[in-house]
Symmetry: C2
């Protein structure tokens, strides 16, 4: 008899527990006298092939007064929503838009507050893409257990989760994840309102919102804006909004004005080593390696292209 989905999840979870506890037991002794390499050393020694450039065709530059925020989109996970966002960007919908909401320990959200600026009818409604077929992209599992999903890991340097039984995957609400605001009707998430996570990972949003990407650089700019004082962290007065000069697709920006970044590939031995270096910190400061890392604590290193 084949185990049913619930059995599978219970046993998968239980086995992960055993593995994690055995690992923790193995880690219990005092740190070795000689510190093992930390993240910086591992990255410095990584081959060039461990990195990939951001995909300029699917990367957005959001210009705030304080600087450029660089968002890489994930068309493999949300193809129609990403296409909608890129269409809105290319019709300059977001030029003159604003960060209208900053809720502490939650999200910074932006949209175009000009009531005269309508989303074109053909872009207004969109079937949600809360999850995507798993075959759409390769999944690198994180061996550590997770409370919100049967399995978590990474897809092309985005934090993600999957349900092996259902053959679906989804991006997760980790710090700096970018999602699509919507009203109660899921079809209202057309990409004209976007938010970035600026607090403890609100994983309860997973599979309730279409997550479209990740802020690869500059998340500290929205994260350090003053918090809104109206309900849900909206600014009480329009004058408090932070104006967005423009949002552009990187591929549309003259080459000389692009920010050339690379992100560490999550399907590489280098990334596995980075995660282990963070799961069990062995520098001279740490007294006790954690023996565990949660999905949203796994770093997604970015560097200027060499």
């Amino acid at each position: 008899m084949m185990p049913d989905r619930r059995d599978f999840r219970i046993w998968q979870c239980a086995l992960l527990c055993v593995a994690a506890q055995l690992a923790a037991a193995a880690d219990a002794p005092a740190p070795p006298a000689k510190p093992t390499p930390g993240m910086a050393e591992i990255l410095a020694a990584a081959p060039a092939t461990a990195w990939r450039p951001l995909a300029d065709e699917h990367t957005l530059y959001m210009q705030l007064p304080a600087g450029r925020v660089i968002i890489e989109l994930a068309p493999a996970l949300a193809p129609h929503t990403v296409a909608n966002i890129e269409a809105l960007v290319r019709m300059h919908y977001f030029d003159g838009a604003a960060v209208v909401r900053v809720q502490d320990n939650f999200v910074a959200q932006w949209s175009n507050p000009d009531p005269a600026r309508k989303v074109p009818a053909n872009l207004r409604q969109l079937a949600p893409e809360f999850t995507a077929p798993l075959t759409a992209a390769a999944f690198t599992p994180l061996p550590d257990s997770d409370g919100y999903a049967p399995q978590v890991g990474f897809i092309d340097s985005f934090a993600a989760a999957r349900d092996p039984a259902g053959a679906r995957a989804w991006l997760t609400h980790c710090y700096a994840a970018v999602g699509v605001g919507r009203d109660n009707d899921p079809a209202t998430g057309n990409g004209s309102e976007l938010y970035a996570v600026i607090g403890h990972a609100p994983r309860q949003l997973d599979r309730n919102v279409t997550v479209v990407g990740h802020v690869r650089q500059g998340i500290e700019l929205p994260a350090s804006l003053p918090r809104g004082t109206a309900a849900m962290g909206f600014y009480a007065k329009p004058a408090e909004n932070t104006t967005i000069t423009s949002i552009a697709v990187a591929a549309d920006v003259p080459a000389a004005d692009r920010t050339r970044l690379e992100v560490l590939r999550t399907d590489t031995p280098t990334f596995t080593a980075v995660v282990e270096a963070r799961r069990n910190r062995r520098d001279e400061w740490y007294q006790r390696p954690a023996g565990y890392i949660d999905l949203c604590s796994a770093p997604l290193p970015v560097r200027p292209a060499p």
Copy 2:
């Protein structure tokens, strides 16, 4: 034969898995037609006894230019470190101190940058209080599993963890937790450098640092400060520091100038209901209740004293 500690942890963990998965399965159907009460309704209906006032003897008011940050200390978990901090506060060590470090998605840290301002010799070294005897305080378990600790829950409205086998408990690094900076030597954590968590919970710090309390109000003030650009988020120039006018023990402040707050007691049915309302959101916006809540996503509601 008695199971050993590792067996205990494996089976405890596996049983929590089973319980969580069964709960998730039970939650799978669509939300009920009539939304169940959310956190606001539950709190509005709570009896007065579900709340307790902050302990003024162990509450600090940290005055930043943008307002008052209110930190409740937890002497039950770190008695000597809390006493040290209160002694430093009462000798005005922090008057004219400054937030000297704001590292995005990590911590805001403050200390007195004046090299002439020395910590008195009798307060300079202190045995770390990374954990405390469990009998020191009552522990209300959170039924949800956790990757960093055998069991998590709450002690007197502070997020905490415990190791039942070892009979020790410790406060956890959730958003707004306040901890004691130290050098590599654990005895250097004397309370003259403090930090508050302003990002995704850095639980790897648990049991590596003495956690002394929680920001009950005003965490958004340090959290929205500009990030430092030097290593580890320190400000590159002293002029970038945010000056702390003063830190005072609430009990030392004239009654008229105190901020009277109450925190929800975590050992009450009201708190259990609040956590369940967040574990399984059933309002009209949520399409899919999570069926799980992680420790640092559990709210610790605060209100002005009625």
